[in-house]
Amino acid sequence: MAATSSGGKWTFTQASVLPGFGLTFGFTTFFLSAIVLIPLAALISMAASSNWHEFVHTVASDRALASYRLSFGASLLAATINLVFGFILAWTLVRYDFPGRKLIDALIDLPFALPTAVSGIALTTVFAQNGWLGRYLELAGIKVAYTWIGVTIALTLIGMPFMVRTVQPALAEVQRDLEDAAEILGANRFYVFWRIILPIVVPAMLTGFALAFARGVGEYGSVIFIAGNLPFKTEITPLLIVIRLDEFDYHGAAALGCVMLSISFLGLWAINFLQSWGRRRFTATAR
């Protein structure tokens, strides 16, 4: 049943005793093609159908470069913020029991469920110059709405649940005994955290980071409200693509899309690589 032919060139290793490998593998290939690969291929072919000069012109224009910087920079920053604070959130939820823990646990998922435009409007209300927080920040000389800070805040909000939800189970798996053992051997808390707990959750943190980053790069709805969308300043690449589409410049939009696609792919691939290195380093699977 497995796609194994003894004399053939293609050999699939079959890891499970459950039958149906052929069926599931076929389905996987089909599904991935129909939903992911074919649309992406269409995007690339669309971009490729324009001439080279035009492509470079669109992709390397100052406005486009500024938008990449904002999109990827803010996503990276937001994912980093989540790396730290998402970890703390997950830690609190896993390690402590306090009244309202269940409620907070449920609140974490809200950014998943909310239409992103709603979060955008909410953030703008709060951080605009006359908003609840914005007016005080304004007094302190910090402008949030319509600057890159606002973009970062929106992306942090959107990415937060990805971080918390991936780190949470990993943290729950850290046995208390390990910490006890380390303490008895003379390690202080900082040492225990650094040498025992962190190495165990790092792979999960990297996954969370990757997810939050990817989500940030692709985010559109929540950002456009708070960003103000000034070209060269607070314009994110997805918005620029929409603008190109509005101008019926399909080739330009596709070109920008291709650039985003390749940068995102490179970024995620790098993180994946880091992860597998981390897994090899920290958790041996050999028995």
């Binding site: 053992a181 003379g186 028995r287």
Partner: protein
């Protein structure tokens, strides 16, 4: 002393999980804490390690009070059941962890690591990751890691729990060798009696948070003081017997003649006899026995277990002879005795299921417990049944592995009329009742060791108050309290009460308080707390009982007439369980 524990108590939500435990462990001693799961032994070990704070009591290691020191400053080594190795570190890094924390130089670390790996027979495994090792090897690494910083005390928490029998034995030997070689004081926690026997210099047996008994393995096995230890350490048949002037009787005839021993207070006592399976003998007829004849029986089960043969024999005359026998591992009161024989005996006298045999006893050990059995007593059969099914009584009887019989006594209500009734043995149990005082007096006069007054659906107590009204009752009260407290998870508090707050009575009151504690400790190995109260005894005891519903009172008395005079109200209370113990004063009472 290497390790001194003084009245350690740890509570979770008010219920004590470790209850007044005191132990002294000598230098280089291998001490095994043995007990079933949930007996508090692991909690106690964690308390010694400093991972759990205690609510009461003191812990000293080598004369240094460490009660309030954190785990990292105590200088102990701990081995966990699940190894707790750092999976992302190599064997070498695991072992050197404690040394690295202490900033030891790399060359010294390497040397120490090599020494430790040799000790646990894992040379050359330095660069493996824990998951590349077998369970037994992982636990060896854990032992080496725990010893790296040269701790003064080694603690092992069920270290062999996750290993199979063969590896377990091998590792057991290693640990014993390492312990001998280093001369390190060691405490090992386990629920496996075989392990305890194999390793221990001394064993301490815990149940329900209390340390029941401790001593050398052979002493505990030969002369256990409690039912729990008798059955937990090896197999044992517990048999109700009569302690009479002629000796110990199981059935009509004395099995064991006790030379000149006289029974206390001149009356027969019900006692619990421990018959080890290997101390029982079977033969075709009573005349063929080389030991004292116990009774005729029928073989019900045969089990071949390697070196030995295990039989279950039902005593034929159990019903007529009176005693009820409890088999080692069943809570049901059955007249089934477990017997083990060697292969040699099996060959000389082979038996089959259903065969009739004569049972003999080579050796028996008597437990000096005043709470031998329970008799639920009421004026009607249905009420007696209701008492018998009271959850607290059911719990007590099953933990004591003893029987609850019922008895209908119409005379109970008009108890003043001393109707001629058959004598009682063990503890009589009645429901609480405002007029209970008369029933109590009547039952005690009929020979009951104690009377237990049970409220309807009473919960298991978490605190037991102890008080005796007059000095002659002290011994019996403490004996009953000690016996009861081994079977409930409760704190024991002796309440001393001074008649008035005047200065004159104070020294006496204090003395009785201290006497009570030291006698409980010395005679019964029972740790109790002491508290002092003032005023009228009945009022003070009632006030204390009213404070919490989950309290029980043990009241000792030598002159029963005081009960009607001053304690009608207290005994008529229906909220708390009460246990009234009577020890007649100097003049033996008239039947």
């Amino acid at each position: 002393m290497s390790i001194t524990l003084d009245q350690i108590t740890k509570r979770y939500q008010d219920a004590p999980v470790v209850n007044d435990v005191s132990i002294d462990i000598g230098d280089g001693e291998f001490f095994v804490l043995l007990g079933p799961s949930g007996s508090g032994k692991s909690t106690l070990l964690r308390a010694i390690a400093g991972l759990t704070a205690v609510d009461h009591g003191r812990i000293s290691l080598h004369g240094r009070d460490v009660t309030h020191l954190s785990a990292r400053d105590r200088g102990v080594g701990l081995v966990f059941q699940n190894y707790a190795l750092f999976r992302h570190m190599t064997v070498a890094d695991n072992i050197e962890f404690a040394l690295r924390v202490r900033r030891m130089r790399a060359s010294q670390r390497r040397e120490r690591r090599r020494e430790l790996l040799r000790l646990v027979a894992l040379e050359g495994m330095d660069n493996r990751l824990p998951l590349q090792l077998s369970g037994g090897q992982q636990q060896r690494v854990a032992v080496a890691r725990a010893l790296a910083h040269k701790p003064e005390v080694l603690l092992l928490d069920e270290p062999f729990g996750a290993l199979d029998a063969k590896i377990r034995e091998e590792l057991r030997r290693t640990i014993r060798e390492v312990q001998r070689e280093l001369g390190i004081t060691t405490i090992l926690v386990t629920h496996d009696q075989e392990e305890a026997f194999a390793l221990a210099d001394r064993i301490g047996i815990m149940n329900l948070g209390r340390l029941l008994e401790m001593g050398r393995p052979e002493d505990l096995y030969a002369r256990p003081a409690t039912r729990f230890v008798a059955t937990f350490l090896g197999a044992a048949n517990l048999v109700l017997a009569q302690h009479t002037a002629r000796g110990i009787c199981i059935g009509a005839d004395p099995v064991l003649a006790l030379g000149s021993s006289t029974t206390p207070a001149g009356r027969d006592h019900e006692v619990v006899a421990v018959l080890r399976p290997e101390d029982l003998e079977i033969a075709p007829s009573p005349d063929d026995l080389r030991s004292s004849f116990l009774g005729l029986g029928t073989v019900e089960q045969l089990l071949f277990v390697g070196a030995n043969e295990r039989l279950r024999v039902r005593l034929n005359n159990a019903a007529s002879a009176g005693p009820v026998v409890t088999a080692a591992d069943s809570n049901a009161a059955e007249a089934l005795l477990e017997v083990t024989r060697t292969q040699h005996d099996r060959r000389t006298y082979p038996v089959g299921v259903g065969q009739s045999v004569a049972l003999g006893v080579r050796r028996l050990h008597v437990l000096a417990t005043p709470l031998s059995s329970f008799t639920a007593c009421a004026t009607s059969e249905s009420q007696a049944q209701a008492i018998r099914e009271e959850p607290l009584l059911v719990q007590l009887a099953s933990r004591m592995k003893t029987r609850v019989s019922t008895r209908v006594e119409p005379a109970l209500q008009r108890a003043a009329a001393s109707a001629a009734a058959a004598p009682f043995a063990g503890v009589a149990v009645i429901h609480t009742d405002p007029d209970a005082v008369h029933s109590v007096q009547w039952l005690l006069k009929l020979g009951a060791e104690a009377v237990l007054l049970l409220p309807h659906e009473a919960p298991s107590p978490t605190r037991v108050l102890i008080h005796w009204l007059d000095e002659p009752a002290r011994r019996a009260t403490l004996a009953v309290a000690a016996s009861l407290l081994r079977h409930v998870s409760a704190e024991a508090v002796y309440v001393g009460i001074l008649a008035d707050a005047g200065e004159a009575g104070r020294p006496d009151g204090m003395r009785s308080l201290l006497d009570a504690r030291s006698e409980a400790q010395a005679v019964h190995g029972l740790e109790i707390r002491t508290e002092l109260g003032y005023g009228d005894v009945a009022t003070e005891l009632t006030r204390r009982l009213t404070e919490r519903p989950d309290q029980m009172l043990i009241l000792g008395v030598s002159d029963i007439s005081v009960l009607t005079e001053r304690f009608t109200a207290l005994l008529g209370r229906t909220a708390n369980p009460l246990l009234v113990v009577w020890q007649p004063g100097d003049s033996p009472q008239q039947p």
